[in-house]
């Protein structure tokens, strides 16, 4: 029997109600957005708000096939987010392992430096980034935007991963080293399986951060590379806000993230609890 079900029925009821309220607060905007995406503009503005209406697929048709199709933008987002996530994890995992485990000169300084790069507000970096990309001809290019995304996703991933590596008992590693496995083999076969949850969590967060990024995308991107966050902004035009299309676009933009979330959910829950048990780690 779980502790909750042992309590008085009233207490249980209250618990459920509390959970329900919290869930509703979380779910309401999403449900409302979903409903709005199937409404006509007239129904969107109706008062009192209508819950029953004739659903229309026009908004989806418009944001998929219409003049303001966001498909190319979804593609931009997928390319930039995937590339930056892949590169981030490729560099962040070994780097985090090194900071967590190896002894080398300037270790503390390098750990601090990684964090320090996160202390500048992004808006302060826009102008230098713009100039660098302009000089190198990488404005409005996939490689340019991906490189810029690495500047914030790498430090984030390194610091998140450090705390997971620190969780792995030294003894395991020592055992592996005693058995004459080299550093890389130890990392690959012994350590990485232990931090699988952490890797999943970090990957998802890095991907999410890149997917939701707006500031750099709007300034450093352009016609060729225009992530979906920027494209959705175009539904809020100077003439009117096209709420229904905006909602349909938002639902489409959410879909890939939800898929990834579902996929990684098992690992995420595990990863988060691991972090919680050990008391927050170094983050």
């Amino acid at each position: 029997m779980s502790p909750a079900s042992r309590g008085a029925p009233l207490r249980r009821l209250l618990l459920w109600m509390g959970a329900g309220v919290l869930l509703a607060v979380w779910a309401f905007p999403v449900v409302w957005g979903l409903l709005t995406s199937f409404k006509t503009e007239r129904d969107v503005l109706a008062y009192p708000p209508v819950w029953l209406f004739t659903p229309t697929l026009d908004n989806y048709r418009e944001v998929i096939f219409g003049t303001s199709s966001i498909l190319p933008n979804l593609w931009s987002s997928i390319v930039v987010s995937s590339a930056s996530t892949l590169l981030t994890m490729l560099f962040a995992v070994p780097a985090a392992y090194a900071i967590a485990r190896l002894r080398y000169p300037g270790k503390r300084a390098s750990g601090f430096y990684v964090l320090a790069t996160q202390m500048l507000p992004p808006v302060g970096l826009i102008i230098p980034y713009y100039l660098v990309l302009q000089k190198t001809g990488l404005l409005d290019s996939y490689s340019g935007l991906t490189a810029i995304y690495l500047t914030f996703s790498l430090p984030f991933a390194v610091w998140l991963m450090v705390s997971y590596f620190e969780d792995v008992p030294f003894e395991m590693e020592e055992a592996a080293l005693l058995d004459r496995a080299g550093r890389m083999r130890t990392l690959w076969y012994v350590i990485l399986p232990q931090v699988r949850g952490g890797i999943a969590v970090t990957t998802v967060f890095v991907f999410l951060n890149a997917w939701n990024e707006f500031l750099f995308a709007v300034v450093l991107g352009g016609n060729r590379v225009r992530p979906v966050t920027v494209a959705m902004f175009n539904f809020i035009s100077v003439e009117q806000t096209q709420w229904a299309r905006l909602a349909a676009g938002a639902m489409l933009a959410m879909a890939p993230v939800i898929l990834i979330g579902l996929f990684a959910q098992r690992h995420i829950v595990k990863g988060l609890t691991v972090g919680a048990v050990k008391g927050g780690g170094r983050r």
Partner: protein, 468 residues
Amino acid sequence: MTQREPLDPHPSQPTRRRALKQAASVGLLATAAPHLLAQGDDLAPYRSAKINWKQVEGESISVAVIPASYFDNLLSLLPQFEALTGIKVRAEKVPPGQIRQKALLDLSSRTTTYATHAADPMYYPLYVANKWVEPLDKYLNDGTLTDPAWFRYDDILKAWRDADSIDGKPYGIPYDGEVTVQVYRKDLYDAKGLHPATTYDQLLSNAKALNDPANRVYGLAMRGFAGAGQNMYIYPSLFRGFGGNWFQGKDVVVNSPEAVKALQWYVDALTAYAPPAVRNWNWPDIADAFSQGTVATYLDAHSSAAVLNDPAKSKVIGKIGFARWPRGPNGKRVTSIWNWGFPINSALTDKQKKATWLFISWAASAETQARTSWKFAGAAKRSGVNRLSAWKSAEFSQAVGGAGNNFIAAALESLEQDTDVEWRPRVPQWPAIGETMATAIQSALVGQKKPKEALDEAQARIQQILKS
């Protein structure tokens, strides 16, 4: 796809990119296609200008505009421009908030990303102080670049020309614009025997007579959202109507007694008669509310008429009336005006500058204005055409005059008589000053601060800004 190939302005791009781009523009071209068929690629009206349109053939320029139907119409005609001049145009749509940022970055770092962009008229003082944009008189007066009899610069609405000029010199050519008017529910007014206000007091008494929150009808609405182009688009007109002056000598002064009176009036009017959420509303929200029949009168851009007459949205079609901005206590009507004009980036090469000028004069010409308004085959007929002759034409009147009672007359009289180029302080430091004022106004609107207190604080901040 094959029949669209000739329209693709970038035939040399890699295929994948091109495919993406085509996917993005298929819709645009689809709407443009019937138009192009109807008009053919009839370039004769342009070729009657006594200039050589092909003088910099082969150049390519990039242009930034905002996502709006009036620019979409223009972009759909780009193939005609390219056929006329042999100049390739790469157009980029940037949201209005970010286009200022990107243009500033580009101009200040002289990276020449954009040859021209849809420019905020309030930014010209800053552009000109730094020599980031070209004075355009030399292009207007150059016989090889402009045929004055054909282009007729003076036909462009004076209020917008002045807004894009500094010390009498033009730095941008208006393409599209708007003017603020009273929009009212004619049916509600008629039922109570009311007339559109000619004074601020009357505006309040009309609002009072029609304000009925229990039945979801609010007397009056005006933008309350914080921003240099939002609440700081409405308040300046009130301030000038109360006799306020932005300058004392060379200093910007925002906390004069007139300023406090104007802000108090703004706060009181919105508190008494506006929907409760109006402090966070911008023009689209107000137009949405009016189109749902919940607002009796509002003061905003004439161009919002398009939303009010959108049958997919609006419940008030046929019940809309328009009138000029009322007179302030000082007896003057000072309405807010806006235009998107095109400047020339001064960091370009001479050839690129010429190509940019040809683009600008094409876009601002009477013929292109007509082709993007009443001659446009799509649903959106621009109501912000830049020329007096167009406003007075029967074709324009037929295309957009149905927006409501007195629509064209109210907008045109406002544009010709009620504007004042100094309705907002035109100084290089505007971007910072505008935001400071917007924050101050909002803090008064939400009741966080008394008007005097808010304006005193803004004054202190603005003095700092002007010093640095």
